[in-house]
Amino acid sequence: MTVRKNQAALTPEEKRAFTNALLELKRTGAYDRFVTTHNGFIMSDTDSGDRVGHRSPSFLPWHRRFLLEFEAALQKVDPTVSLPYWDWTADRTSRSSLWAADFLGGTGRARDGQVMDGPFAYATGKFNVNVRVDGRAYLRRALGEGVAELPTKAEVEAVLAMPVYDMAPWNSSSNGFRNNLEGWRGANLHNRVHVWVGGQMGTGVSPNDPVFWMHHAYVDKLWAEWQARNPKSAYLPAAGTVNVVDLHDTMRPWNDVTPADMLDHRKFYTFDTEPVPAASASQR
C-alpha cells in the first residue's frame, strides 16, 4: 500500500528518487500528456456549461483520480516512489527546504522568472516546458509575488469545519466546503497557492511545475480530513444535476470512474499521519 508522506519529512534519497522519476516521465513524454489533459479541462470547465475538473463538485474526485494515474506512472518508473504532499500552512516561505536545489529548485530570477537551480532548471536540458500557453520553454516561478501569504492553519480549520460538501449552483459561486477549498469563495485556499507559486503554476498548464502534484496531494489530504471530521456529510449532488457530475456519474476523460469510487482514499493509499490499515498491514 502506497503511503503519501509530508515532503518536509523525506530523506535525501527519497527526494532524489521522486525527482528522478519525474525526469523520467518527462523524458518519455508521459509527463506532458498529463499537462495537456489538465489544460483541456481548465479551458472547457465553465460555470454555465459542462464542468468536471474544476469549479464544480467533482473538483476533488477528479483531481484524486488524476493524481492516482500520475502516481501509478511514477511507480512504473520506481515502485518505491509515492506522491509527497506539501503542507503549505507549515512550509510557507521561499526558504523552505521544498525549494532547495536538492529538491524542486527555488524561485525564478527577476529578469524572466526562470528557475535557475535544481533538477528542473532549463539549463539541465531535462525539463523543457513543452505544453505551454506562451513561447517560454523554461520552468518559471515567482514565489510570494502574485500574493504575499499562503493560507494559514486557521483559514484551513475554518474551511474544514464547513458541514456541507457543495451547494447549488455547483460552480465557482457556490458556498460550501468544496468551493471554499478550491478557493473561488472565502479565504481562498487552493487557488491562492497556485498564485503564490506563480509562473506556470498560475496558468492552465500548471502541472508543468512539479510542485503541482505536491500541492494537489495536500488538497486531497484536506478532503480526507474533512471527511473524517464530518462523517455524516456526503458528496453532493446525489443525482439528476445538469452539467455537473453527480455521485454516481462517470467523469471524463476516463468515463469509467465516478465520485463514489473516489470517496475512500484508503482503497489506494494512506497518509503518513494515519495508522496503517489492518488489512494492508497484514499483507506486508
Binding site: 479551458m43 460555470d47 500557453v133 473561488w184 496558468t203
Partner: protein, 134 residues
C-alpha cells in the same frame, strides 16, 4: 523589456507575426476596428509595449464563432499582438484567462493587462480551446 520603446516592441512583434504567417488575423482585427461605429466594450490600446484588442461578443458565425466550441458563446475576443487569449467569465461576473487562471479580474481589460505583465514580452501560443485532450 523596459528599455524597449513601445513603438519598437510593437514593430518587432508585428514582424514576428508576419514571419509566422498570421498577419491575416491582425489585418482582420484592424479592419474591424476601422468601422465607423465602434461597439461598446471595444478596446484597442498599447500597454507595456503590447497591443491589446478586445472585441465584444458576437452572436454566432464570424471570426469568434469559428474559434470557439460550445459553451464559450457570448465571450469577447481578447487579442495580444494579434494572438487570441483564452478567456472565461465566472458566474459572479469576474474574469480569468488561461494565463492567469487562478485569480479573478473585474473586466476583460484588466485581465488582458495582467496577461501582458505575466507574459514579460513572450508571445501567446496558438489558441487551442480544447488543449488537444485525447
Amino acid at each position: 523589456m523596459n528599455k524597449i520603446t513601445r513603438r519598437q516592441a510593437l514593430g518587432t512583434t508585428a514582424g514576428a507575426l508576419s514571419a509566422l504567417g498570421i498577419a491575416g488575423a491582425t489585418a482582420h482585427a484592424a479592419a474591424a476596428d476601422s468601422r465607423a461605429s465602434i461597439p461598446t466594450g471595444t478596446v484597442d490600446e498599447v500597454y507595456q509595449g503590447r497591443r491589446i484588442q478586445i472585441t465584444p461578443a458576437t452572436t454566432g458565425g464570424g471570426h469568434h464563432g469559428g474559434h470557439h466550441g460550445g459553451g464559450h458563446d457570448g465571450l469577447p475576443t481578447v487579442r495580444i499582438d494579434g494572438r487570441e487569449l483564452h478567456v472565461m467569465r465566472n458566474a459572479d461576473g469576474t474574469w480569468i484567462s488561461v494565463v492567469n487562471h487562478y485569480e479573478t479580474f473585474a473586466d476583460p481589460t484588466s485581465l488582458a493587462r495582467a496577461a501582458v505583465r505575466e507574459l514579460q514580452g513572450a508571445v501567446l501560443a496558438p489558441f487551442a480551446p480544447m488543449g488537444g485532450t485525447a
